[in-house]
């Protein structure tokens, strides 16, 4: 039992990374095909990460600058352990959905601190935008979390998954929440049209402006985790989790594939427009869904 737990604790972050990385690979290829290009080789992200890690020289602006990517990665690894997948629930009993919401922040905080120490205004602007956008999508996010929690009368993510296994997926019972959840997860991933944070032409890749070499490599790894976290949470909350790894992967891939299509067609929101957007339609729809849950 204990051996099991230790084994899965080690294997889960690796699994999460592999899933996130595979999505990154597929995304490069799919977006290339949509743009009528051939696209890079499918394992290009692996080359990129390894090249970055193997750079002969790295620069650092200080201790926190170096620790930033490390804390970001540590936060992501921790978060992954709290998300149940394919019937495996490791730490889910030690922190419920509300705790998870705040555990997810640890990584971003580390990232923000590291970027802040680079003493570059582009990084600061990027962080300012990232936090503003976070406040933007947080409002609809908490509303849908509350509606799901009140619908199932528990904040334990594993119980929510189990309840869906016996009944309907939340997608069918709370369709409005699911739609908003998709928009929020999409916004949290920072894809078009919400990619003003890292906009290369305006703020020179935002928070990452001074990061290069192994630091940047860690951030790319962290991005793979980030993709996994957002989508796995969506699958657990709305698509009923899964009983085996393959089915879980398929569900995640379906969600990610739709996201990729959105990513390709949209231009960029200005940051205040993005916040206004999140505080308007997603919030209204989420509130309607919440009221339906309350009245029921």
């Amino acid at each position: 039992m204990v051996i099991d737990k230790i084994f899965f604790t080690i294997i889960t972050p690796i699994f999460a990374f592999a899933v996130g990385l595979s999505f990154m690979m597929i995304k490069l290829k799919v977006s290339a095909r949509i743009e009528r290009r051939y696209g890079p080789p499918i394992i290009q992200p692996i080359y990129n990460i390894l090249k970055l890690l193997l750079k002969e020289e790295n620069i650092s602006h200080g201790v926190i600058f170096s620790l930033g990517p490390v804390i970001a990665l540590a936060g992501s690894i921790l978060t992954v352990l709290f998300i149940p997948y394919a019937g495996i629930k490791l730490f889910t009993g030690s922190g419920d959905l509300i705790a998870l919401m705040y555990i997810m922040v640890i990584g971003s905080l580390g990232m923000a601190l590291g970027a802040g120490e680079s003493a570059n205004p582009n990084a600061s602007i990027g962080i300012s935008r990232a936090l503003t956008l976070m406040l933007g999508y947080d409002l609809p996010f908490v509303i849908i979390i509350i509606s799901v929690v009140l619908y199932y009368h528990t904040t334990n993510l594993a119980d929510i998954v189990a309840a869906q296994a016996h009944g309907h997926w939340t997608l069918w019972s709370l369709p409005l929440s699911a739609i908003v959840g998709f928009v929020v997860a999409y916004g949290a991933l920072g894809e078009h049209p919400f990619d003003i944070i890292t906009a290369p032409h305006e703020v020179a890749t935002g928070p990452m402006v001074e990061y290069g070499g192994k630091h940047l490599g860690f951030l790319v790894i962290n991005h793979a985790f980030h993709i996994y976290i957002e989508i796995a949470l969506f699958v657990d909350l709305f698509l009923g989790g899964a009983t085996n790894v393959l089915w879980f992967y398929v569900k995640m891939f379906a969600v990610f594939f739709i996201m990729m299509l959105f990513d390709e067609v949209y231009p960029r929101f200005k940051i205040d427009d993005a916040v206004r957007f999140f505080w308007k339609w997603p919030t209204i729809v989420a509130l309607i869904s919440l009221i339906i849950v309350l009245v029921k």
């Binding site: 490069l28 290339a32 743009e35 009528r36 290009r37 051939y38 696209g39 890079p40 080789p41 290009q44 080359y47 990129n48 390894l50 090249k51 193997l54 750079k55 002969e56 020289e57 790295n58 620069i59 290369p200 032409h201 020179a204 890749t205 990452m208 402006v209 001074e210 990061y211 290069g212 070499g213 940047l216």
Partner: protein
Amino acid sequence: MDRLTEEQAKTIANMLRKRSLWMIHYCTGCGAIELPPTMTSRYDMSRFGLAPFVTPRQSDILLVTGYVNIKTLRRIITVYEQMLDPKYVIGFGSCPINGGVYWDSYSVIKRLDRYIPVDLYIAGCMPRPEAVITAFRTLMDMIDQGKADGYKRYKRNLAYYKENQRKVLG
């Protein structure tokens, strides 16, 4: 499993490096106009793992597209020194080679490799995207064979480069 020797490790690292080259294009002159077709669907340089990037910290290749005058030289040197090893420089078009049409201008640098080490030149005014891609492929081969060692030369002959830079920049 035996421990990798340093030589083998370097070979593997070079193999990886040549497959993922990120470039920062310093668009000083008209040469930049040839890059969009190279990047986009028609020629699609991402096939070779090449991608345009923004800041010198993230990039491996410095692409100097066009003439370099004294004012921009200072920026180019800053950008070059901010890049992380290993880093490569490509001179694009005839201007960085010998000044091109600006060969007798008072304010334009004639030979870029007197100031920073250039690994590769692409001749032509302008070089077509095919030529650009050929250049990148050549650079990849050079990296694979360990010949693209401009950054090492820069460190070795720092006094020489600094002297030349000082002469122009003052």
